[in-house]
């Protein structure tokens, strides 16, 4: 495909959701009124996200897979000459998978919401916010200018805040408020770091800065810049001591909000580390890599220990909260991979990023489905004294949940395995100059984390899917437990793509790694 076509495709991918968000607020034109205004606007959401997904697939097909290290579909025009800010867009092997993941997840969310209308105020605002969120996320993966990246990074906050605060469950105001406050505090610091890089480096252009590979920046500038930018990205990722907003936000968020928060928003943090911190300030990254690795390793163990505690009987653990904490652990692997500063590690991180988006997205969808059926996500109330017996009562749902759980614990042959295995493998041999014994310790900790992860996920499967002692028929007869519907067709439609991709990525990791590896080599090697 010619460059111009690709360029237009990418521009449309970023611009279409934005236009769609505005259009969602306007009254529906005649002919598209549908059965009711609510139905019309939800259908509008499905149409727009579907179109964006189609465009993204076209972009991925047109992408020159032989040269994934090169920026493709680029647009580069001056926007604010006074500050040297350019409207620079483009995708390479690092960002393309994330763009595809984002538009896929948003489409599935829109589809899911079309049939399962979210509880809360008018769906009109819901669709507009969803589309705005999509525009912001896609833009942050597609822009190649530091200030534009910041802008896109911030744009997603507003819709996510409202999605949690207006359509969320219990504790939504507090959860939404914490989410916004934490992320904003981090991103103000990040802005300072980006400005420092821009002013000292003489340009805000990521490609130009990456090609220089920090040669224009003094060591102390790089250290400060990495500290500032890294802080903002670490809050978003989230890194271990800065993660405490995540469980609250996830617990309160509506299903769709949780899926996008885990599947897309968290990826911005790690993407920023790979795209900005590593190539632009390699010296600074080198200085902080061991600390990042230490926090990542602690995060892995901490996340799984919390999950283990939440999964215990009688602890009143919430299933959404548990998956949120498991995200802290999984993102720990991503951060560990990045902190090794080796191509293997960074590839592992990017792979684990995508895998986590698919698997955790699926898990949050499933938990949303369980909540619809049981009216709660509290593990104790859900499982009762004997277990929720999902296998018996809704076998397909139970099967999917078990699939999600084993994918999440990193079963070989599924997507979760490769990223985590490669991340540990990379920390066995970190980049030159990094303390090997330290990284071996981190590797051991991460290994311990995988064991703990397996433990709590199996506990969850046992408590939710199994049990019941065959008594459920009698209790159902008494009317104490309502009959459960198994997976509905629209749920199948929304979940199957995630299942298929999880299996596909697990069986054929080369498809993804072949895309990221050349780009990663170039980012680490200074544009050569």
């Amino acid at each position: 495909m010619s460059h111009t076509v690709l360029q237009i495709l990418l521009l449309a991918i970023v611009g279409l959701p934005l236009a769609g968000a505005v259009a969602a607020l306007l009254p529906a034109p005649p002919g598209l009124k549908g059965r009711s205004p609510e139905q019309a606007v939800l259908r509008h959401g499905v149409t727009v996200t579907g179109a964006v997904l189609a465009l993204t697939v076209a972009l991925a097909a047109g992408f020159d897979h032989d040269r994934p290290a090169r920026m493709q579909a680029t647009t580069d025009v001056s926007w604010i000459p006074a500050l040297g800010i350019r409207f620079h867009l483009g995708v390479d092997g690092v960002s393309l998978p994330l763009v595809v993941l984002t538009s896929l997840l948003t489409f599935l969310c829109a589809l899911y919401s079309y049939y399962r209308v979210p509880d809360g105020p008018s769906p009109k605002a819901f669709v507009a916010l969803l589309l705005l969120l999509e525009a912001g996320s896609l833009a942050s993966f597609a822009v190649l200018d530091l200030v534009l990246f910041f802008l896109a990074f911030e744009t997603v906050l507003v819709p996510m805040y409202f999605l949690i605060a207006r359509w969320g469950g219990e504790g939504r105001e507090r959860g939404a408020w914490r989410f916004v406050l934490y992320t904003l505090l981090g991103s103000v610091v990040m802005l300072l770091g980006l400005l420092l890089v821009g002013i000292k480096g003489g340009t805000f252009d990521m490609v130009a800065l990456a090609t220089d590979n920090g040669s224009g920046l003094s060591h102390s500038t790089q250290v400060i810049a990495v500290l500032a930018i890294g802080a903002g990205l670490a809050v978003k990722a989230p890194m271990f001591p800065l993660h405490s907003w995540l469980p609250d936000a996830h617990t309160a968020a509506p299903t769709v909000g949780s899926v996008l928060l885990a599947g897309v928003l968290l990826k911005m943090g790690t993407y920023g580390l790979v795209r900005i911190v590593l190539p632009v300030a390699p010296d600074g990254a080198h200085t902080f890599a061991p600390y990042l690795a230490a926090f990542a390793a602690v995060g892995i163990v901490y996340g799984s220990l919390v999950c283990l505690a939440l999964a215990r009987r009688g602890s009143g653990g919430d299933l959404k909260r548990l998956i949120a904490y498991s995200s802290v652990g999984h993102m720990g692997f991503v951060l560990l991979g990045i902190s090794t500063l080796t191509p293997t590690g960074v590839n592992a991180a990017l792979f684990a990023n995508i895998a986590h988006g698919l698997i955790t997205g699926l898990l949050f969808f499933l938990v949303g489905g369980i909540k619809d059926r049981y009216g709660t996500t509290d593990l104790d109330r859900l499982s009762g004294p004997t277990g929720a017996a999902l296998y018996g009562r809704a076998p397909r749902l139970g099967g999917l949940l078990a699939f999600g759980a084993v994918a999440s614990l990193g079963l070989p042959g599924l997507a979760g395995f490769w990223g985590e295995m490669l991340a540990m493998f990379a920390s066995f041999r970190p980049a030159d100059g990094l303390s090997r014994p330290a990284y071996l310790t981190f590797m051991a900790l991460a290994g311990l984390g995988t064991l703990l992860t397996a433990a709590y996920l199996l506990v969850v499967v046992r408590r939710v899917c199994m049990g019941g002692n065959g008594e459920q028929h009698t209790t159902a007869a008494k009317g104490a437990v309502p009959a459960l519907a198994d997976v509905r067709p629209y749920e199948f439609a929304a979940w199957t793509p995630l299942v298929v991709l999880t299996v596909l990525a697990g069986l054929w990791p080369a498809a993804l790694l072949g895309l990221t590896d050349p780009a990663v080599q170039q980012l680490l090697g200074g544009g050569n």
Partner: protein, 514 residues
């Protein structure tokens, strides 16, 4: 040469370029016209005066167009250095545009307040126009006498405007407080000006700069004291710490549109004066005023933001007080590039950053005040809690206010607010004022908290118990007055256009203005 000097000596009368002085002049003439017309108009037709004011300000704004080349000057000395007292350069024109635009928005949002609160119409419009004329004169002034006169012409009507709510004790008290502290500041400025004059023997800014460079060592202390004292009066107008104590009371006591006017045009007057005096007249003393302004900026933004943070949403007047304190905080940001001008090699750039920030701030802050006026019609207590559920009652006003607040906070979709802050940040970092940039970052975060909290209030479902009491009044006044709608619309349009094309104002930060 001799001949030339002779002929100059013959005509001591300075020539006047009427076109160059048109913008402030038209405002002043309109003020007089309003005052005279007020005598002959019957009470029920006084609303015409509002129209005259808006028309006069529009004309004054149009008068800027023929000057846009930015090369005119007038009231020049006929001999000696041929320095001019009035220059219509680009700096002047941009600030005159700001002042006149700000006054125009104020006039639009005043119309309903004047009618509903039964303020004396003739006086109100006359005072507003006079103050605007003074404020428009100030950026063009290039000698210390004209500067002080312009400062006073801008301020004196403002005292009266603050105290215009007849029979309201708080209003009179606020006016008196404002008056006394302002007069003290002006007196100090005059003392400073006289010291500078004593040390240099001239009042023209450029000549002062030349003379200060080679001032008699015995007079150095005098000159130094003069420089510091001169700045005091201007710092007062920008409401910089420690001259900020009048702000919350004055804003709370004044009619709301006047508070908006003071927060925008009043501040513009102050920082224009500081920019002119420091950059043109006192460049040799940048080691004195640079650090002083930097400390002032840091203190001002911190004091303003911390005080704004402490406003309880359900207290009476909390919305107005929050706007007042946040405007003190914003004044701190405006001072940052001016302080940077004292360190950098290129003060013109830094001043441009202040101007760009001020243009953004003027549009969105007046917009926020316009929505406050609108909400104040149904909820007289001006509590932030009254904004709860505004989106459900009046989506347009709520969305506009949310946009203005996000601009002030510097968050998307208020893109222009973000970039204006970026400009200020980079001015500080360029000048090596890393610590000031760090202080500013902390302040931006504090400000985010209260701006966001207010924004979140707009979209929360309305509280039941309090809503009923005001419900009947709300039903009567639900329709938005046209002039108020126009003011909100104009401010929002300005913010949106600037967010799409920030270059429109940010180019001042890259080009040299002074």
């Amino acid at each position: 040469m001799v001949l030339l000097a002779d002929s100059a000596a013959v005509s001591l009368v300075q020539s006047v370029d009427w076109l160059a002085v048109a913008p402030p002049l038209i405002a002043a003439v309109a003020a007089l016209a309003v005052l005279v017309a007020d005598l002959f108009l019957p009470a029920e037709r006084k609303h015409v005066l509002g129209g005259v004011t808006v028309g006069g300000l529009l004309l004054a704004g149009l008068a800027l167009i023929p000057l846009r080349a930015g090369t005119r000057s007038t009231f020049c000395l006929t001999g000696g250095s041929h320095t001019c007292s009035y220059e219509a350069d680009h700096f002047t024109l941009v600030l005159q545009f700001l002042v006149i635009g700000g006054a125009l928005l104020t006039a639009l949002l005043s119309a309903t307040t004047v009618r509903e609160q039964e303020l004396p119409a003739g006086e109100y419009w006359f005072l507003l126009l006079s103050s605007a004329a003074g404020a428009a004169l100030l950026p063009a002034s290039r000698d210390l006498a004209t500067l002080v006169v312009a400062l006073e012409v801008a301020s004196l009507p403002a005292f009266a405007l603050v105290g215009l709510r007849r029979g309201d004790r708080r209003s009179s008290e606020a006016a008196l407080k404002f008056f006394l502290s302002s007069v003290t500041a002006t007196a100090v400025t005059l003392l400073g000006v006289s010291f500078v004059y004593a040390a240099t023997g001239t009042l023209h800014l450029t000549d002062v700069a030349h003379s200060l460079a080679a001032v008699d060592p015995r007079l150095a202390t005098l000159a130094r004291t003069g420089v510091v004292l001169t700045l005091v009066g201007f710092a007062f107008k920008t409401a910089a710490v420690p001259f900020h104590f009048w702000v919350p009371d004055a804003y709370a006591g004044a009619p709301l549109p006047v508070a908006g006017y003071l927060s925008v045009v009043g501040k513009a007057v102050g920082f224009t004066g500081i920019a002119l005096v420091t950059v043109i007249a006192f460049p040799t003393y940048s080691d004195v005023w640079g650090p002083a302004l930097a400390v002032l900026a840091a203190l001002t933004m911190t004091a303003g933001n911390v005080a704004a943070l402490r406003q309880r949403p359900d207290r009476k007047l909390s919305a107005v007080r929050l706007l007042a304190w946040s405007s003190v905080g914003q004044a701190g940001y405006l001072l940052v590039p001016l302080a940077a001008a004292g360190y950098g090699s290129d003060p013109g750039h830094a001043v441009g950053a202040t101007v760009a920030y001020a243009l953004m701030y003027a549009a969105v802050n007046l917009g926020a005040f316009a929505v406050a006026v609108l909400v104040g019609r149904t909820a007289a207590h001006h509590r932030i809690a009254d904004y709860r559920g505004l989106y459900a009652r009046s989506p347009f006003a709520a969305l506009a206010l949310a946009f203005f607040l996000l601009c002030l906070a510097g968050l998307p979709p208020g893109v222009i607010g973000l970039f204006a802050k970026v400009t200020v940040f980079s001015a500080a970092v360029d000048a090596g004022l890393g610590w000031l940039a760090a202080v500013m970052a902390v302040n931006v975060v504090i400000a985010l908290y209260y701006y966001l909290q207010w924004t979140a209030f707009l979209f929360r479902p309305a509280g039941e118990p309090e809503g009923t009491a005001d419900g009947e009044a709300a039903a009567v006044k639900t329709r938005m007055p046209r002039s108020l709608g126009a003011a909100i619309g104009l401010a929002a349009a300005a913010g949106l256009v600037l967010s799409g094309a920030p270059q429109l104002v940010l180019r001042y930060a890259s080009g040299s203005l002074l």
